[in-house]
Amino acid sequence: MKILVVDDDPLFLELAASLLNSLGYNRLHFAKSADDALSQIEQAATPFDCFLLDIQMPGMDGIELCACIRDIETYRHTPIVMLTAMTEKHYVDGAFQAGASDYITKPIERIEVKARMRNVEALLAERSHTGLVSQQLKNAEIDFGKSVRFEDPVLLHDAAWVLPFSSLENYVLRLGNMRLFNTVAYGFHIENAHEIHARASGLEFIDMLTDVSRAIRDALSAFPSFLSYAGYGDFCALVPKLAHFDRSFAQLQINDALQLTADMSGEQSWPVPKVKLGAAQSCKLLSFKDPTDMLYGAIKKARRGGEREFEGFTRWQMGVSDENR
């Protein structure tokens, strides 16, 4: 794996080199600034497979650099891991918004670097798998339908706003008690995802998930939020607790958007996805529970009935026809 590590502290670069070498990563490149990194990226004969970026650097910081790298077509989906101190959590939010895949806290420890690099490898493997599937479809025009498993938390390559689920888990694990307390999770369950998976090809299923993620993103656009796909037709979003979020309206908005997308795309062999939005799942202050339980709790709530158990109905449940909308 060809890795570019960017940090303005030469001693830290040496430490990162030693740790990564000890984990078996030997194709390492180093940059002491964002400009140096961009120059190396431009001149690289073979592309980098992964980036480790320090957030606080003089001149262009790691967040801006992350956004610049994401703007380069070759690196739209390349794992970018941010390096940050515990006190810089507020920067982490910005980094995820700029397209970061994950982050490691400083001071770095071998065990954490190992865990995050495993995550990077999983992302690369997923990317390679999706790329292969797409290529197969292009070449053979065959129905490769079940190459995407229903349970897989697949990466949505055309939806940069959707984080890998493992990154969302890492994010809540590192939030700290106060910020965790001020954050809530919402689950979004595609009620007929299983049926769509059975009737659509793998790529079509991913396209459907991308459409759903876009509709959710638009419904959450008024708040800073993070969205992730967990597999099984379940999405999970983190939203500030104080955000005045009308779930009933959001569910309606999401399903209307999906109906509109289906209307515009013409004939398709699978039904329009129907999304249920669950009640907010929060984490108690000073709770000893695993913070990731919040994500799974939110998904469970969405699966249990979503908005129906609270406000009653939405347009798709009422079966409102086009002419009445």
Binding site: L11, F12, S18, L83, M86
Partner: protein, 120 residues
């Protein structure tokens, strides 16, 4: 049970970290001098904001590396100093905040001096 290869890798890492630790110690007097130089600029009233930002950047870097090299206390005080300077930069007229980072810097310099190879 560890394999011979795993033991070898672990030994190489320990050796590399020890090398970096020694390098950190060798550069410690330069680091102390850089902090003191920035402090002197602030005392003289020349380019105070710039000097304060410079101390912040040095504390930030040190907080990110020192604990990994076995200097947990230096890392902790550096992180504390970094936070206190951030507060001062956002409210530069507050004398209490200035006192707080001054105190933190003095503590840090004491700790760094204690780690200097010839004084240890």
């Amino acid at each position: 049970m560890k394999t011979a290869e795993a033991r070898d890798t672990s030994g190489q890492l320990e050796q590399a970290i020890e090398g970096l630790r020694q390098k950190f110690l060798r550069e410690l007097d330069e680091r102390i001098f850089a902090f003191e130089d920035a402090m002197a600029q602030i005392r003289n009233g020349s380019n105070t904001q710039h000097a304060l930002r410079h101390i912040h950047a040095m504390a930030h870097k040190q907080a990110g590396i020192a604990p990994s090299l076995g200097f947990a206390q230096i890392g902790e005080i550096s992180r504390d100093l970094e936070g206190k300077i951030e507060k001062t930069l956002s409210d530069p007229d507050c004398a209490e905040k200035h006192q707080a980072w001054h105190k933190s810097l003095e503590l840090l310099l004491d700790e760094m001096e204690q780690q200097l190879p010839d004084l240890a």
